[in-house]
Symmetry: C2
Subunit: 234 residues, 2 copies
Amino acid sequence: MKLRHAAALTAEDCALLEAVTGSRRIAVDAGETLVSEGEKPVSMNLVVDGIAARHKDLAGGRRSIVAFFVPGDLCDLNVAILGEMDHTISTLTPCTIIRIADRTIEEIKAQSPRISRALHWSTLVDEAILREWLVNIGHRSADQQIAHLLCELQFRLATVGRATQTEFELPLTQQILGEALGMSTVHVNRTMQLLRNNNLIVSSHRKIILPDLGRLQRFAEFDPSYLHLLSEEN
Amino acid sequence: MKLRHAAALTAEDCALLEAVTGSRRIAVDAGETLVSEGEKPVSMNLVVDGIAARHKDLAGGRRSIVAFFVPGDLCDLNVAILGEMDHTISTLTPCTIIRIADRTIEEIKAQSPRISRALHWSTLVDEAILREWLVNIGHRSADQQIAHLLCELQFRLATVGRATQTEFELPLTQQILGEALGMSTVHVNRTMQLLRNNNLIVSSHRKIILPDLGRLQRFAEFDPSYLHLLSEEN
DNA sequence: CGCTGCCTTGACACGCCTCAACGAGCGTGG
DNA sequence: CCACGCTCGTTGAGGCGTGTCAAGGCAGCG
């Protein structure tokens, strides 16, 4: 559970987390709903493997993805405070997740102020990512948007050991990318071709290869500081 | 301080808040920066009057507004936990604000778990608004986008007594709306004309008049549940 | 009175969407 | 083993939505 880039956690803290996350792993198919809009959930989901998404469904059968969850991410921390869910959480690929009861979280927070703070930090990073997505969608060109999203995913996956400087697995369809970026599948396709032609990325099957990460980041105007992970790695 | 729609606060809680907010009001001109990107602030800003914004500045002199703050809003709660600010906060109109030290907040939270919870709620609502903005910008047409933003502002202003069902003051330029919605000033202008021609809004000077709020909300596919304010008013 | 900020208009180009069809990979079942 | 159907990536053609550039109008203000 390498999510904890927020604060120095003690050995006890880690043991506490281990105890919670050690068991109850659930395998979920792709396309399954974990939490529905309108629900008032009493547990939260930790993604151990696979990719999930926070999304809102709109009129006309469209879907707007507002967040991706990669391994190590908590999907719906804090929702208890707001009451009803204002969105849905679903898996995008086959996932293995861990369900943690609200009560358990509360107990852990009470036992370790450091973990409590780390969880709070995690919420705020989610919000920071949301802000950056807003900038991305609102103010960047399609090619930069995709490049930026790839940079973010590379960075986030790298912090949990699922990406290197030069490549990572990305089992998302172009349709899903389109739902996240607010563009049509066709245009995602053509734009990715453009990136490939410029040798900014190489993609085959579900793997993204980055010939020159620095150049891609510069092209996307990607500045990882919004992820607030710099303190312990870079 | 009517911000507290989150929880039933006791008389003591209110007194506590009064004590903090009763003094130290600062008048700020339009266009002033309250907190800069890269800073590590030790106090936060409460907007008492006027409108402020959270924004990121991009290459080419452009600016992306990712949140509006209306009277009653806390601008930068919690930033302490993240470390450096990843964005800037500025006034859009002349404002009167109250600066509250981090320490003060901590003390209040310690004294009243209800206020602590309400502040947490406030953070989560900010995040929910961000999600809805993402949906708006990514997946709605320009006219719906503007209509939706107006619906949201009407709703939020109404909860603090600054809007009625039929009208409210909106001292924002079309350029500012464009920076928030990711569209050019020219297009904001033409789109607003479209809304006016359809009698969805009437705007004169800095006042927005809503001939039929329900119709506007339906047009914008506006569902206020994401604001999580319904419990005590509607 | 002239300045300045903001709204408004027109013309033109291009990014992006839509519809439609085809191809490649792959699991399934005959 | 091959044929089928499914999902996903890819292409083409055509049209509209939006950005850009440039200019004019209007109101507030010193």
